[in-house]
Amino acid sequence: MWRQIGLIGRDKLLKQELYWRLKKRVSFALIGPAGVGKTALLEWCFDHAKEPKVFLSSSHTVRENLQAFCKALDLQLIDNKGKKIAISRATVNQLEQACLKVSDVLIFIDDFERSTPSWIRRLKLFAERHVLIVATRPKIKEDLKPLMWGMSEINIMPLEKKYRQKLAFAFCNHLGSATSIKEIATKSRGYPARMLAQAKGEASLNSMKVEGEELDISPLLLLAIACLVAVRYVAIGLNETDLYVLGGIGAAIGLFARFMLYRGMK
């Protein structure tokens, strides 16, 4: 239910970016930080796509995914003696063979960044035969990058300010939450999953920091060290010995302190 609520404020995205791609059966990727609403959008896409279509998740095992694929398309599995096998009893190999016999299926993959090497091998085969539509976080493994080639990347941004209040109201209404709607709307910074967690009273503000939201300004300190090094050469130009000595001492301290900075920046 809250997957549908989570689509509040995404009308423009659905109309302008997603709907025509689904109609044309074009491969694309939804990219965004955790809790921004990728899965909700992907499920909406799945609901509005034409058959044949499958919804998989990279956080499941290969076997579970292949079974889901076969079940969704109602594939018949036959062993080498020509006998029918039940999907639940088939080996991974038999499942894979069956999956590769069909083509041009819309495959929706959630948690794409969590793909394991053995699943990536199957995904490569699928990418040649089917259309992949994936939801992923911005940082992905190198192995997955070739799969993303040619996919149009759609960045999902946090919700705009004007929709936050509406979404927070919808969540609180749905859950019967007593938390202040305004507080949820402002503290969530536009992340629907965070709003939901707050409305449920499950999360505090500090526990909900998401990677990519923070901007580390410590490289500015490296810039300051570079300026200290530059002071020495400026002093040569000005012919001022005391400034030269000071710049030299500063540069020495800075070049030593930079190792600590690197540590802090990791």
Binding site: G190, I217, S218, V245, K266
Partner: protein
Amino acid sequence: MIAVTHVTFAGFLGFLAGLTPQKAALLGLGALLPDLDHPRSFLGRAFFYVSIPLHHFLGHRKAFHGFPLWIAFTALGYFKPEIYLVGLGAISHILLDCWNISGVQALEPFSERVLVLFSRKYRIATGSSTEYILLICLLFLTAGTTKVNAIGGFRGLVAYITASPKIALQQYKSKGPEICYLSGKLRWKNGEIEQISAQIVGLEGFNGVALRLDDRLVHVPAQANLLKARLKCSGQKYETLRLTGFAKTLTEAYFFDGKAWRFAKPENYVFGQILGSKLSLEMIEIDGESHL
């Protein structure tokens, strides 16, 4: 960060830049201002009628902690320099707050990115024991920098520690006609080394200086070399005068004859560029013609 840390940090930066205590206090005041958006902060409690609405409309560590606001405020310092210092203090507050675990949304209202300093593991929680260690370090550093300021900032400290004659003379050049003293070691041409404290008369030649030692002038490097020298300025200035002819001086005076400085006792004749503490000259007439 707590209010004391912010004030100490701003004060430290002020003393580092060589500001007077009054100006550093303005920086400290500026460092308190951004926390007005929290009703339980130091200033927020005193001015609750400001802080409560601010917290309600803007929230804590958001637009009121933003670079756009405080940089614009600092730019107003173009009209009044005090505002400039207060604005810089506020910016130091924001930078230090970035070191907090929660960071600052300092680009509000343009962006919601949270500005932080270092990764989470190396950040400091407000009011934690780590912050008190930082505060103690800052207090020591501030006390140290006030001492350093008394001898002319870090550049003065370098000159004091190295006691380099080169630096002392470069400093003297920038002082103008101020009466300054050199203390240090002098090596005479015959090899003797003497500890001196002498008044500087003036510069001569390429890198030379004339010093008044007791009742005579010493020309460096013609008569002696400086091994170590520290400059001390009195704050008073020489009176200067340029003569086209000759005159008789009634007080002690120094004059530059084109190559080196000379010393003239009362009733002696002087010409050229004249220096002295209280100059008093008498016109002389040769064949009924004034030569002053």
